[in-house]
Symmetry: C2
Subunit: 516 residues, 2 copies
């Protein structure tokens, strides 16, 4: 039997009482560890976090909490090698892809550590300027943001066991709100280990950070009015969460980050050989293959002018053909595995669905696996699909294949391109490739209402831009409609979710006392 990872709740490590669920190596097929949450006293776990953890965190200032995050960053940095080993074994990712998760998570946490320093020795945030409610200004209204007096429950996705934890925990802990994280079972190991390292270092007050691995059964039942829940995953699970009595009846605040069909758009008049064309081709190939396309932000739809359909298909396919796929332990391999047999089956099923309305421009099945047994390894080559009739092919706007798959779509003019993008019903991100600032700015404004982020790539930032799918902590992460309607990160904006806004109306003397 493999090791059963304990949970950390109510201030102590507690093993589940069940047999546990096994986590596997998606390349070798071997069992790695087991997780289980059976028999945990969840009411006690949530009460401990809410009361002990919350009170201890709220007793600190933003600066002090930022210092705790900075100390956690040091611990995580000291243990990076172990995290890379776990990622290779459990996520099947090559080193560069593990870095997106591990170093991306640590960088994001460090960003919020630094933000704490900026926010200083306060225990609430002031929101905007005071407004006079009497002509003489003796009676005024001022808004403040106070930490919510509850717990933050994170139900996370399998693709970012590190980044998904820290991009949420950083803003929550900095806000003074204790965290309970429930990682996706398939890759829970890395989340559990990182929490363990931080807990064992004794940095955070008791109750500030808990981890529950295994089933999510019963977690939502614990939520009370001042708790918040943040979910990353499928639209189906999001709907289940939104329907839960805690949200429906107790107004528990919920943030959803769900699937979306993100687009990359090459603006008109950038033929093959132009810098914008080459930048699009490079970014599409990179986004399709990074983490085997298992990113919520990955490019799923590629829009190019009709006349460039063939040229774009050829150029992207040529790059994809060079991608070696297989065992991430082999240095020749550029793209590792999907996370599980279940995901492999889902990707194959999704590909079959999309193929009913598309042609195959580059076939992932042609990629021989390096150092991996196709009967065991959850590896699949990158596939570029395409259709010359993007208006009729409704599936490409509706079905997200969560793997190294994208579809090329030709458009007639910019209005047509925007209409096609809009058929995604709201996405996390769109990227636009062009050379004229005014045209890029115009596209950005048009796309803004349907996206949480618009990423503009022009030749002057070819070597500087941060990538279509890469989520920078300075920028909003989330998107409207199908993408779930949530908002994460965006620098200090991330703290809003963990605070309650209140108008304080009083005499100028009272408001001065509040500020002092």
């Amino acid at each position: 039997m493999t090791e059963l990872l304990p949970n950390f709740v109510a201030g102590r490590w507690q093993a589940g009482t069940g047999a546990g669920t096994a986590l596997f190596d998606p390349v070798l097929g071997t069992e790695l560890v087991r997780v289980d949450a059976t028999g945990l006293d969840l009411p006690a776990a949530f009460a401990f976090a809410r009361e002990q953890g919350g009170a201890a965190l709220r007793a600190l200032s933003y600066r002090e909490r930022g210092a705790l995050l900075a100390a956690a960053v040091k611990v995580l940095q000291a243990n990076r090698d172990a995290y890379y080993e776990i990622a290779t074994a459990n996520s099947g990712t090559v080193k560069n892809d593990s870095a997106v998760d591990i170093d991306g998570g640590i960088y994001t946490l460090s960003t919020y550590a630094k933000l704490g320093e900026t926010l200083g020795d306060k225990r609430f945030l002031v929101d905007g300027d005071a407004a006079k409610l009497s002509k003489d200004g003796l009676f005024q209204s001022e808004h403040l943001l106070a930490p919510t007096q509850g717990v933050a429950l994170f139900i996370n996705a399998f693709n970012f066991p590190s980044w998904g934890l820290w991009e949420k925990a950083g803003p929550a802990l900095l806000s003074g709100v204790p965290v309970i994280v429930k990682p996706a079972t398939a890759t829970a190991w890395l989340t559990q280990r990182m929490v363990k390292d931080v807990v064992d270092a004794g940095i955070l007050p008791p109750g500030a950070l808990s981890v529950i691995c295994g089933s999510s059964a019963g977690l939502l039942d614990q939520l009370q009015s001042f708790d918040v829940v943040s979910f990353t995953g499928s639209a189906e699970t999001a709907a289940v969460i939104r329907s839960h009595p805690a949200i429906v009846q107790r107004s528990v605040r919920v943030n959803i980050e769900a699937d979306s069909l993100n687009s990359a758009l090459l603006l008109p008049d950038h033929p093959p050989g132009s810098e914008a064309f080459e930048l699009l081709v490079k970014e599409v190939a990179r986004e399709m293959t990074q983490k085997s396309g298992q990113k919520c932000t990955a490019i799923r739809r590629v829009l190019v002018p009709e006349a460039l359909y063939g040229a774009a298909a050829e150029a992207i396919s040529a790059r994809l053909a060079k991608t070696s796929v297989g065992n991430p332990r082999n240095e020749a391999v550029r793209m590792g595995a999907l996370v599980s047999r279940a995901q492999l089956a889902a990707v194959r099923e999704g590909l079959a669905t999309l193929k009913t309305q598309t042609e195959v421009l580059h076939d992932g099945a042609t990629h021989a696996l390096v150092d991996a047994d196709p009967a065991v390894a959850c590896c699949v080559g990158p596939t570029l699909l395409g259709t010359r009739n993007p208006d009729a092919a409704h599936l490409v706007h509706d079905v997200e294949v969560f793997g190294p798959v994208a579809t090329l779509l030709p458009y007639r003019d910019l209005a047509h391109a925007l209409a096609l993008v809009q058929r995604g019903q709201g996405s996390l991100v769109a990227s636009v490739y062009g050379s004229q600032p005014a045209e890029l700015a115009h596209a950005a404004f048009k796309l803004a209402a349907w996206h949480g982020r618009v990423h503009l790539v022009s030749p002057d930032v070819a070597a500087l831009h941060t990538g279509h799918g890469n989520v920078m902590p300075q920028s909003l992460h989330g998107g409207p409609g199908r993408a779930g309607g949530g908002e994460e990160l965006g620098g200090v904006r991330a703290l809003n979710f963990y605070h309650r806004r209140a108008a304080i109306q009083g005499s100028s003397a009272v408001l001065a006392a509040l500020a002092g």
Copy 2:
């Protein structure tokens, strides 16, 4: 048969095809008008608003839309007398109480008209400063707020047919988002008339403002991903709305403003005769009787130091005893009717429930009605309840009686008082009465996390403060937990709900083009 009020959808006035539901005079019992929404083509109505109304509004700048609101304000001011007549007849309110709804609504709309001027000739809002994503600053991230490309559906409460419309429509229309309002049936007449006056004046583009009177059946089914819905009313209906597939599956943004058990708190060391004591007594009596206590923001729980329980009971009761109740057409009357027999029954039922755990300090049944037949009129005198055991009397923290009813609760010390307030599980507003700025500021900070607004009353603002229950457009309206978790008003903050935030990442040249 009384007049059947038509609905205004898809750019034209359309009568329902059913028999209609009658609206009554709650004092005289006479039928006034009828409303009906049977047979309306709701998909066409929503599509017209979303496409025609939305496109026309978004083509304008904030300044231009503000000018439309200013023109609407002029039309409404010109028709004030008609609105007061409708309010007297349909809401049974005395003139001062009608003013809270009518003039409060017009003032709020004019506030957003002026805000449009401030926001200027733009079509989106910039959110904060740009952040450098490359060290040289050539690649940056900036956030903007773009109007959501959908429709705003308002499902409103009976107690504010005017203010409830304009406090929502002002921010929505200023944001460039078309409005469909479904007023509560009992008092839909005033909403319908105000919309009619603005529509007939030809101020707004077709599709910008629609009104549907009668049943809300089918309205939520029309909502799509970029629409928003704003509801004011009971927690039960709020739960139904939150569970609807549009919200659960399509991420339609929802704002809920629900019941709450708002508190008034007299700080320690302010005995009878002190200014703070007298200010509390005056405000409690005013809040209990204004609009017959039919305000979401009205004081329901009054907290005073234990030693002052008797004195506070006596002082508040003495004020209440002077309140003449009855026909609002009689100038001697200070407090008119509840809105309907159904509300009268609900108030009586709620009173009976609370009386199981409280004593009656002032009995509303002792008030003889002026100029009104008790067998017909929906009038009820103000009742002050109290209990010397506020910890055990759980009903007073759970049951809101939506009428002229409040409960006096003694507390031991400030920590006890705050714990009692918190048992409301989140409220719209708390007011605090005291004389020391530091003590008031401390209470405000403590109360902020459970309230959308904290109203601080000290002797220096005795004549200036805007009232516990009065919602100023400059201040946030809404509250966490039981109060629904929503946010309205708060000046420019109200526009957030009608915009989508997006991070725009690009070269400094592109971001400069976007700004210009």
